[in-house]
Symmetry: C2
Subunit: 188 residues, 2 copies
Amino acid sequence: MPRADTARDRILDAFQRVLISSGERAATLDAVAAAAGVSKGGLLYHFASKDALVDGLLERLDTFAAADDERMRSAPEGTVDYVIRTSVEEGSAFDEALIAVSRLAQGSHEKARTALAAVRARWETAIAAAVGDPAVARTIMLVSDGLYYNSTLLGAFETSDTRDGAMDELLAVLGRLTPASPGPAAAS
Amino acid sequence: MPRADTARDRILDAFQRVLISSGERAATLDAVAAAAGVSKGGLLYHFASKDALVDGLLERLDTFAAADDERMRSAPEGTVDYVIRTSVEEGSAFDEALIAVSRLAQGSHEKARTALAAVRARWETAIAAAVGDPAVARTIMLVSDGLYYNSTLLGAFETSDTRDGAMDELLAVLGRLTPASPGPAAAS
DNA sequence: GTCTATACCCGGATAGAC
DNA sequence: GTCTATCCGGGTATAGAC
C-alpha cells in the first residue's frame, strides 16, 4: 500500500515531499498540487480539504507504524539496537511519513503531535520490554529522542555522525547501562 | 536588560508569550500588538518588519545564552547536572526566550534554527569539558536533547516526569557512564 | 510615538465548464 | 476526474492623521 499508482497516493507522496524539503508553511495546496502534477481543484477532488489531506497522511503513518512495531520486536540485533539505529533518518517509507508528520507537528497541528506521541509510545514500551530497568529504558528512549531531534529538527547527523563508528560507539556506551547483559543490550 | 519598561522590551515580551502559548502561526503582528497593548502600527514603529521583530528576539536570546554559559561552567552541582536539569522547562528568562525561538524554528525560520544550534553547541562543549570521554559526552548531550524535545515539542514532562525523583534517577543512570568519578558527573 | 485606514498578497475553498 | 475562475479571510506593510 506504500506507493500505488492511485491519484490519492501520488498526492500524499507529493505532500510528504514538500513537507520534508520545505516545511509546513510551504506545504500549501498550491505547492502540493504542483508537486503532484495536478491543479488545486484536482487535488481538492481527492481530498475535500486540507484537513482531509492531513488525515490521509496520518492514516498512512499509522499503517507504517504498525508494520514497524513487528519488525522492532523481532529485530535480530535486539530491540534497542534497532530503535537507536532507526532514530536517525535513513530513507524508509516509514521514515518519510514520520518526518513529514513531524514537520506538521512543528507547526502547531494537534493531531499530528498526538500521532507522533503514539509512535514514540510504541518505541518506549518495546524498549522497556527489552531492558529490565525502567530508569535505563527511559534514558535510552531519551537518547533516541535526542537523535531524532537532531536528525529531523536541527538537520544535524546527516553525514558525519551517522556514518562510521559513531552509532556503534553510542550503542556501546548504552550497552554499559544494562547490567543484565554486558554486551549489546538484550534482545526481545 | 531582561524586562525594562521600554516599549521595545514590552513588545518582545508579548512576542515571546504568544509564541510560547500559541505557536508560530498564531504569532501574527496583530496578535503580538494586542498582547503588548499597542496597535499594529505602533508595533511597526519599533520593529519595522516582522523580520526585525524576530531579529530582536534572537538578539535577546544571545544575551541570555552568554550569561547561561558562565553559570553552567561554574555550577556547584557540576556541569552535567546543571545542563540536564535545565533541559526541561523551568521558567527562567533564558528558558522563555529559548522556547520562543524554538517555536520559531519549528516553522521553518532558518535564522532561528541556527541560533538554536549555537546554544546547543555551547552546552555540548561544556559537557565535553566536564566529562573526559567524548562518546559519553555525546550520549549525555543526546539525553539533554531528548528531554528538550519532549518538554518543548511533545509537551511531555510537564508534570509527572519533572517532579519527584525522575530527574535524580536519570542523573544517577548517567553518572554510571563516567568512569572517572563514580558519583554525580565531574564538575567543571 | 502611537493610532486608523487602506493597499496588497496569498492561502483555502467553492462553482461550474469540460 | 480534472481544469479554470472566483470569492473570502487574514497577514504584512504603507500612508498619513493626531
